[in-house]
Symmetry: C2
Subunit: 267 residues, 2 copies
């Protein structure tokens, strides 16, 4: 009943980088002495992902909860991960594996199609694991899957006339778009779940009060466009539409860049 409105979104990039990398790549060396560990790091990460997927909200992934799912004491987790933050980082890299398998049959002959597939792979991944978008990825987790995903995605842009730096920039651009739109979609769903009000219900409650204070003649374009958009989509936003529309524009923008690049002088 209490503690209702808290929807946390945590950060990555915690303690000792070396230790984190060892966890991500599974190269933590087994110690000689001491009792046999009952778990390995990967199990903790898997359990945490299971909890996160089930709850759809990262703030529900508490150390107590994960420990419970594994049937161990809360503090035992700290034997395998240095902190909750490091755990989240590992969850991210582990989940990137899905996108990697999703990207194995990429169209490398047509970069437009390829880029569309790249976007779609991330899009699907985020919809399956909404909690990923609640992580503040200050520094990307330098894990095997993160890098493998990057490699496959870059393959799409290889040899089409972009510089190395531009290849990275285009990829960043696409990812920023997909992440942003996916985040909005997730946020809408979470808000609905949390408040118990659908968008329509919320509007119904808000409209009368808004009508008292909102003067359409003062905001003519907003009133017109807002209404048009509201009718066209069901509600204030349509992430699906934003995703496709935006991706189209992005691709055309990149194409246009390539055209002016290759045109002025032929070498």
């Amino acid at each position: 009943m209490s503690y209702a409105g808290r929807v946390g979104s945590e950060s990555s990039g915690a303690g000792d980088p070396a230790r984190t990398i060892a966890l991500l790549w599974g190269t933590t060396q087994v110690p000689g002495r001491g009792p046999k560990p009952a778990l390995i790091g990967a199990q903790v990460v898997e359990a945490a992902i299971r909890v996160a997927d089930h709850e759809a909200d990262l703030s529900e992934v508490s150390m107590r909860r994960v420990a419970q799912a594994l049937g161990v004491g809360t503090m035992s987790l700290y034997t395998y991960v240095a902190s909750r933050t490091e755990l989240i980082e590992a969850m991210l890299d582990a989940t990137y594996a899905e996108a990697v398998t999703d990207l194995t049959d990429l169209a490398t002959d047509d970069w437009r199609t390829g880029l569309t597939q790249v976007a779609a792979a991330s899009w699907r991944m985020y919809l399956r694991h909404p909690w990923m978008l609640q992580v503040f990825t200050g520094r990307p987790p330098m894990g095997p899957n993160t890098i493998a995903k990057y490699e496959l995605e870059l393959g799409v842009l290889e040899g089409i006339g972009l510089t190395d730096v531009e290849m990275d920039a285009v990829l960043t651009l696409v990812h920023t778009h997909v992440e942003g739109v996916a985040r909005r979609k997730i946020e809408a769903a979470n808000t609905e779940r949390r408040t118990g009000l659908t968008d329509a219900q919320w509007w119904e409650a808000a409209a009368p009060e808004l009508a008292k204070v909102f003067d359409p003649s003062q905001f003519p374009i907003a009133a017109r466009v807002g209404q048009a958009a509201g009718e066209r989509y069901q509600g204030a936003h349509d992430p699906e539409h934003a995703y496709h529309f935006g991706l189209q524009r992005l691709i055309e923008g990149v194409a246009s860049h390539l055209a002016t690049r290759n045109e002025p002088d032929s070498r």
Copy 2:
């Protein structure tokens, strides 16, 4: 010392919509009976913004803290705002006022320039108030400044050949981009502050361990492009570059859309 890794990012869209709208538009009717209120809602919002700006992290904006800044008891705040979530919503709308004043002298004759200015206004706003990017805006706060900003921005796209729905979509696209890039920039800064490690220091610590597990021949393009990007920028990312590069592509994409739109048949 304790509670180190927590970087929260809270949600908006809490309780009673009608009440929230009254708060945002300052139309809360003064009650007859009872002791004179010592504060008004706007003061609470201002104080909260002051705290957030100072701390650069929304999780530091606790009710206790805001109350302290105002010299009142913690629970007194709940006389003016229904919940922390509603407070955050009000903080957002109040801060949009800055962008509104920033947008008053817009170039409405050239939509490319106009769109660049629109993006720049939001960009500046986010850099001044990084905490804004930690809010999960499930539903936009229906406040006066939010709407005014929307109106001014739409003005840039009025009459250039887009449908109403497209006008909204283009704006969403630009905002998604700006928000996404700004978020990454903020995240990087926050990570540095939180971990006490600059990107360079972090790399220095991570590189040896990564070298043990990373096989360049397995990820040839990533190795090449990653190095090129890392040298070109200082670190793994350059938000400034991503911002300008992306915005250019977006605008070209929209232009290309307009061209194919007007070309096929002249109507």
